[in-house]
Symmetry: none
Subunit: 213 residues, 4 copies
DNA sequence: GATGAATGAGCCTTCATTCAT
DNA sequence: GATGAATGAAGGCTCATTCAT
């Protein structure tokens, strides 16, 4: 997996942690959550397994920290996208859609790891807490953008449900990218998102994306 | 734990198997996939753990058979719903939507178990095979219904993408029912589905369901 | 293994026991002592595994009874051979040698089963008791024949050691028939025995057997 | 149980392995092959049972490595004996006989362990492979010594069969040392071997050993 | 910081034994 | 007599965790 560059014998604390977290994501993606052992993670990171415990105290914490890392990465991804986009609601919604399918959070490894955590989260309150707040923020921002868009475009649409349909479609398309026996491309994934947006906001989106005026 | 009635000492083979599969679904829902042990399952079924291996040979097979059971149950659910509904595409699509949220497949236990299996499926080819064919059938039936609906209603819509949006929204709403910190009701879930359908097929659906004429 | 003739639904007690003992010998020969389970034995006998316990109460007793059966069979084999042979010591010793390699006790299955029991006997006093008395009888009879032969032939040989060499060679040749990567035939086995006898009693034996006068 | 001194917490890998192999031989000798568990072995070595798997991966491999160890020890024993003995065939054969009954390979533990492995070997190809080659080498060396002895002494004897009788007698005497209810001493065992040798090579051996000239 | 030998709890699995039918 | 579902003790194996070096 790793073993790429011969690591500096002494990496800084933070760097080691991040390296181990990346190895954890890799391993979960490859072997699944239930099959992931600390030895797998250590091997993927090219270090001894004792070191994992040294930096994370326990497997539980390693996994929790990995999930937090991914949640923060995800949040940072869409927050940055929104900050860099024009402030009109169409552009903002477009930025949100694009952010979900860019090369940072939408890699096969990330998708697989998210999927694995979802599978476990239901029975682990600690995981739900980990993500709940982030998700709520995302939902509220998305809803508020949809409201502004609705107002601006004169849509008679229910903004909350529109936002929810966009969000669930995004999640479902992620699952498609993981599982369908006849998978489709990331472009088709995006087009599906735009198709969905255009059904609800036809004066702002068509199947190819945001309508520029 | 042993929620059911005191079991007869000897249940028929098939009945025992089904009982153990139900106990497995329960246990996965409660404890998660990774934390599910044969002893948990046996305790949930009120039998000794040796009996699980007696009937399923291994934990692996118990889980695979459980997934198969759920896949067949899911398929049977929507096939029956379609068979019992009027044959016009609006009614058929409506039946498909309702089937996903009825009391058979949309119980908290079923949702949680599905979610757990999704999390593991990515790293288990045998699970993907288990579900792949079923999923494809569902997708094709749903697409064909959307095509007929599109033709009938004169929609300029892309039937394949419309079907996909409906399906992914359904999956995403399932995840919402599992995870959101501010969960909503099954009625709201259905209304969200109808909102989605009405955005794409406004002459057949509104937010409250199929428009009767 | 078995399954030969469709068994009468109700076999007599003794017949069932013997049938199960033969199945045990078969199974030990095929799978080894440590790998032999009651289910293997039952399957080899074509009956349900519950029946084995019914007839033998426990696995321990089944194995002990099997060993006793083989010990009695072995003893009966050489006793009969001695009874049917002429009474001169040369003929008697010859009968003893031939008895060890005839078709009753020297089948591959018997040899393998004996070997397996030897391997376990060391740590099981009950097995040693089972065979000890029989062995002692055999040893004494063989020694007494050798003494008579020694006297008759005017050999200056130590009859006890001569008997022991014959007996150990017989055992060692049995092991050869089981294990050597370049096995030899039963005829060569016999010739080896005669070679051994002729070295000690050259006026009574040559490499081809008893010297008739 | 833990017969040796309190072990250093960290023994070198090779030393640990050998220590565990000795514990395995001990345990097999005491409890028999079928009754030997990893916990027994670990207890005999004074370590936790997890450590056994750590060093040998599985019980299967532990036993196979133990057998290999004993086979190599046995081979080394007679090879060294031959190397240190005078090169005339009489001395070489004498060295071979003595080697089989010295304090290295002919301890009660070794004999019992060999016996247990023989009992299992028949049904385990891997065990047969383990020993087959070594045995063949031994047989060939022994035959060639007997041939040289035969030529030197002008015996009209069949060297191959003579070698075989010596070898089988040796094995049989080993079994006697394990099993007979009236056991005899190691000296008597050796005398029996010499008795056997003297019967076939009377100008080189008498009952007390090699005839020095 | 880092390593890897060592520990031991916990799990899956096997299988002798029981027993209702 | 015979069957086979059911039990539960026991064993092999995994792996998170500890800790001497």
């Amino acid at each position: 997996m790793n073993s790429s560059a011969p690591l500096p014998r002494k990496a800084s604390r933070e760097h080691r942690r991040e390296q181990l977290i990346e190895a954890t994501i890799s391993t979960i993606a490859r072997r699944g959550y239930a099959q992931t052992t600390l030895s797998d993670v250590a091997a993927a990171a090219g270090v001894s397994h004792g070191l994992v415990n040294f930096h994370f105290q326990s497997k539980e914490r390693l996994l929790a920290d990995t999930l937090r890392f991914m949640a923060e990465e995800y949040r940072h991804n869409w927050e940055t996208a929104l900050a860099e986009a024009p402030k009109d609601p169409g552009s903002q919604l477009n930025a949100l859609i694009l952010a979900d399918f860019n090369q940072i959070v939408s890699t096969p490894e990330r998708l697989a790891a998210w999927c694995a955590f979802w599978g476990e989260a239901q029975s682990r309150p600690v995981y739900q807490e980990q993500c709940g707040a982030s998700d709520l923020d995302y939902i509220r921002v998305q809803e508020s953008i949809c409201e502004r868009l609705s107002a601006e475009g004169g849509y008679a649409t229910d903004a909350q449900r529109a936002a929810r349909v966009l969000r669930t479609t995004s999640e479902g398309v992620w699952l498609d990218l993981m599982f369908t026996t006849e998978p489709y491309t990331r472009d088709e994934a995006l087009n599906t998102m735009y198709f969905c947006a255009s059904a609800m906001f036809p004066r702002h989106f068509d199947e190819n994306g945001l309508i520029r005026r």
